[in-house]
Each structure stands twice: as C-alpha cells, then as structure tokens.
C-alpha cells in the first residue's frame, strides 16, 4: 500500500487528522460510486444476496426484538412518569407510537445492527484482505465490489427497513404490555392514543431513515474491511473503526434526514 498524505509524517497531528478524515471520506465516495456502477451486475447474484439478507436480516432478528421490546417498555415507564399529574394518559399511546416509528425504531435498530453486522462485514472482508483472498479475486478478473460489496449493500438497504417495521411493532407491543399490565392504563386508552394523530408519513419517514442507515452500515463495514492491513491487529482495528463510524454517521444522518423530512418534505 503506498504512503498516503496523512501518513507522511510531514503534517502535524491536527493536520494529519483532518487529512485522514478527508481521505477516508474520499475513499468512501469512490467505493459508493463503484457500488452504484456495479449494482446492475451485482444484483444478479441472487444466491449471494439471499445469503446476505439472511445474515443481516434474519440473523439480527433476535437482537432487534429484545432491544425493541425493552425500548417500548422503557418509553412507557418514563413517559408515564413525565405525564403524571400533567398530561392525560390517553397520550401515552400517542407518544410511544410516534417516538417509536419516527425515531427509536429506526435509530436503535440501526445502532444495534450496525454493531453486529458492521463488525461482522469488516472482520470478514478484513480477513479476506489480509489473507490475500481479495487480491486472488481481483487476479481472477472478478470485481470484489461486485462480488463482495454489492450483495452486502443491497441486503442491508433492503433488510434494515424490514427490521425496523418489526422493531416498531415489537416496541409498541412492549409499551402496550407495560402500560396495560403495570401502569393502570386500559387497553382501550392505549390503543385510542396510538391511533390519535397517527400519520402514515411518520412510518415512511422511519423507513426512509432505515434505508439510509442500512447503506451506511454496509458501506462502512466494507470500506474499513477492504482497506485492512497488517494481520489480526489490522482486522481488529478495521472492525472497531467500522462500528464507530457507522454509529456516528447514523446519528449525524438521522439529524440531517429529520431536518429534511419534517422541515421540507412533510412540512
């Protein structure tokens, strides 16, 4: 691997950090460009796509269900505490429903899946890189982007919205169970509240976010995995970076999307 401007040692530490961030961003955009170019050919690899969808989607279900269930439960307990004496309990279902479908469902699902799947993609591709399997693939005239990255990218952007729908349902169920079983809120009150102010666009906004979060998780995992070097230590570093970058970008993009969706598109 040739020396990069950020590694020359000429620059000072802050300069190197800034250069490194720009270099990373540039490489991510180049990878994204290659992914978009290779999607028509890569999407024909149905077997690989289904394999990745099973890994990313089905494999993440248990974790997503547990996280969603407790998220809904905690939301119910804390909202009821805030509402006490001030807000009628009919709004409990409203608040839980809205907060789950707009924010908690997509974001928490993405953070959990980002940890699980982002790490696994980076570790797998990183190991392939340091054991020369990626080089072997290129030598065989097979594009690693088409063969390795595109199936993971497509699987992630398809499965994250699906997982989010699941997480939304389970989280609301968690909130419903805690509200009706422990908070003296009747089933009728909770469901009436849930229906109150319900907007389909809220669900769509969550799914749009999930689509982008899926892209972030796969891109970060593939980017850091494919540029691993130096054996086990390098793979470990790539895995950590992929997860950290995914989580940070999910939160940043969440803000940007929220601003666009609720101030522009659905305003």
């Amino acid at each position: 691997m040739s020396e990069t401007p950020a590694e020359t040692g000429v620059a000072t530490w802050p300069q190197r950090t800034i250069l490194g961030i720009f270099q990373d961003a540039g490489e991510v955009f180049i990878l994204l460009g290659s992914v978009l170019r290779e999607i028509p050919a890569g999407s024909r690899k149905i077997g690989l796509l289904i394999q990745q969808m099973a890994h990313i989607g089905v494999g993440s279900m248990p974790l997503t269900v547990i996280v969603a269930l407790f998220t809904g439960a905690v939301a119910a307990v804390q909202a009821s505490y805030q509402f006490r004496d001030y807000v009628p309990m009919i709004y409990l279902g409203t608040v839980i429903g809205k907060s789950v479908v707009i924010e908690l469902g997509p974001v928490l699902t993405a953070l959990v899946v980002g940890g699980r799947v982002g790490a696994s993609i980076a570790a797998e591709l990183g190991t392939m890189r340091v054991t020369e399997q990626v080089d072997a693939m290129e030598t065989m005239g097979i594009s690693p982007v088409r063969f390795l990255v595109v199936p993971r990218f497509l699987a992630a952007i398809l499965m994250l919205p699906a997982l989010t729908v699941f997480a939304d349902v389970v989280a609301i169920l968690g909130g419903y169970l805690v509200s009706t079983l422990t908070l003296d809120v009747t089933s009728h009150t909770f469901i009436s509240g849930l229906k109150l102010y319900f907007k389909t666009q809220d669900v769509f906004s969550g799914l749009i976010k999930a689509f982008f979060f899926g892209g972030i998780i796969a891109t970060m995992g593939c980017h850091y995995g494919l540029r691993s070097e130096g054996g086990a230590e390098g793979v470990g570093l790539a895995t950590t970076r992929a997860v950290v970058a995914s989580c940070l970008l999910i939160l940043i993009v969440d803000y940007l999307l929220a601003s666009f969706l609720f101030r522009v598109l659905f305003a």
Binding site: E3, A136, T139, M140
Partner: protein, 252 residues
C-alpha cells in the same frame, strides 16, 4: 529474438518509508519460465503484484503483451487478468466456499458454461494436481500442501497464458515441494505457459527455471540460466545460493 510477454522497465516502488524496487529492468519471453530469487523482504512478491496490476509503479512501466498495465482502466485490467493465473503464498482460497466452488468460480463468472460442464472441468483440474475427491471439502480441512495444490488448480482453471507463482513451495515438506515443482515444470513444458515464480527455495528454482534473476537492493542483481547462476563468482549470489550467513548479504 523471442517475443516479450512481460517487461519491467525502470520500475520503482516505495512502500512505507522504503524504496522496495529501485529501477527494476527485466523481461520475460513468451513461454519462458523465469524464477526470481532474493532474500525475504526484497520485493519479490511486490514485483509479481505489478504484473497483475494489484500494485502500480511509482516510476517506470510494466508491460504485459506490450500493454502498459498502469494505463489500463478497471474493466480492461479485469479482462487482462482473465489471461493470467496467480498462485498466492498462502493459497488464498476463499474460506466460505468449497474446493469445487473455489476452482470453478472463474468459470462461473467468465464463461457461459453450464454447471454440469464446469463440474467436469473442476474435476479435471483437481485431478491434474492430485486432489480428486476433495470437491466438497472446505479449505480449512486441507493440509498446507493440499491448499497450495487446490489454489494451483484454481489458478489454472481458465487455461491462463501467464502464470505467476508466489513462493510455490514455501512451508511444504520436501516431497510435496517436489510434487509442486514437477507440476509447474510439466505445465510449462506441455502448455508453454509464460511464468514468473518468486522463491528463496533454490532446489525449486533450479527445477522450474529457464532463467533465474536475483533481486537485491531493489534491482536485478544477477540474471542467467540455472547453470550460470550455479557457476557464478558474484559473492552476493554465491552467499544466497549456498545459504551462508557470511558474505556481503547481512542478516536482517
């Protein structure tokens, strides 16, 4: 004058803070088997990676069939690579696939052959390297020598015109090494494949080479037939081929 298949002209490559290649000039004729010898870390594998375009020179040119590899775009490079096979040092078999899937992958990707035909070709190539019956096994259940032979079958599956071998016998027992050496020689004699092998196993080098080049201090220090190399009086080459710790080459 024989036609040149691979040519390095003034190739420089810097890795980290060191110039690994410092003006390599070397040409390989079509059908020739060239072995590059040299100490570990002298850039032998780096040299091979330039041929397949996995690395690009900082200065100089690498030509394959007269075409500057660095000038090729991604697609042209992928199609040039279809004419080449490379045996990696550790085999580089894909862990997630069976041996048959590893060997047949390039056929699935680059040819319209039906699965049944691919199965036959895969069986033929595995038989060529003495690995019949391993089709359904995973790379993790093969020994080092078997992995290397399976990787060789994979590299040969597209009937390449150019073969590159990165340390083909390193880490193998002497008998398995001999099997690999004979196989490489047989392929070269039967199919007239142009090949470059990098190694520091002199027994292997003498067996498979038409010519041997020694890479030292980033340049081609010596070049000749196995007999010429064996008979050389150059102290660095003598020290290397005799495996002596005394001489101009300092222990690292």
């Amino acid at each position: 004058m024989p036609e040149t298949a691979i040519e390095f002209a003034g190739v420089w490559k810097r890795l980290g803070h060191a110039d690994v290649l410092r003006g390599v000039d070397l040409s390989v004729a079509r059908g020739e088997s060239l072995v590059v010898i040299g100490r570990s870390g002298t850039g032998k594998s780096v040299l091979l990676k330039h041929v397949v375009g996995l690395m690009r020179p900082d200065r100089g040119v690498v030509r394959v069939n007269g075409v500057d590899v660095s000038s090729l775009g991604e697609r042209e490079l992928l199609s040039l690579r279809e004419e080449m096979g490379m045996l990696f040092q550790g085999g580089a078999l894909f862990d997630s696939m069976t041996i048959a899937e590893n060997v047949g992958l390039a056929l699935h990707e680059h040819t319209p052959l039906p699965a049944s035909q691919i199965e036959i070709v895969v069986h033929e190539k595995l038989a060529l390297v003495g690995l019949e019956g391993t089709e359904g096994m995973r790379p993790s259940s093969l020994s080092g020598g078997m992995k290397k032979r399976a990787a060789l079958a994979r590299a040969l599956v597209m009937n390449p015109k150019i073969m590159l071998y990165d340390e083909p016998t390193t880490g193998l027992d002497p008998i398995t090494s001999d099997v690999i050496n004979r196989l490489i020689r047989r392929l070269q004699e039967r199919l007239r494949i142009t090949s470059i092998a990098v190694t520091h196993d002199m027994r292997s080098a003498y067996h498979i080479a038409d010519r041997i080049a020694m890479l030292h201090e980033g340049r081609i220090h010596a070049l000749g037939t196995p007999e010429e190399i064996q008979g050389t009086t150059d102290p660095a080459v003598r020290q290397f081929i005799e495996g002596s710790s005394e001489g101009p080459l300092l222990p690292t």
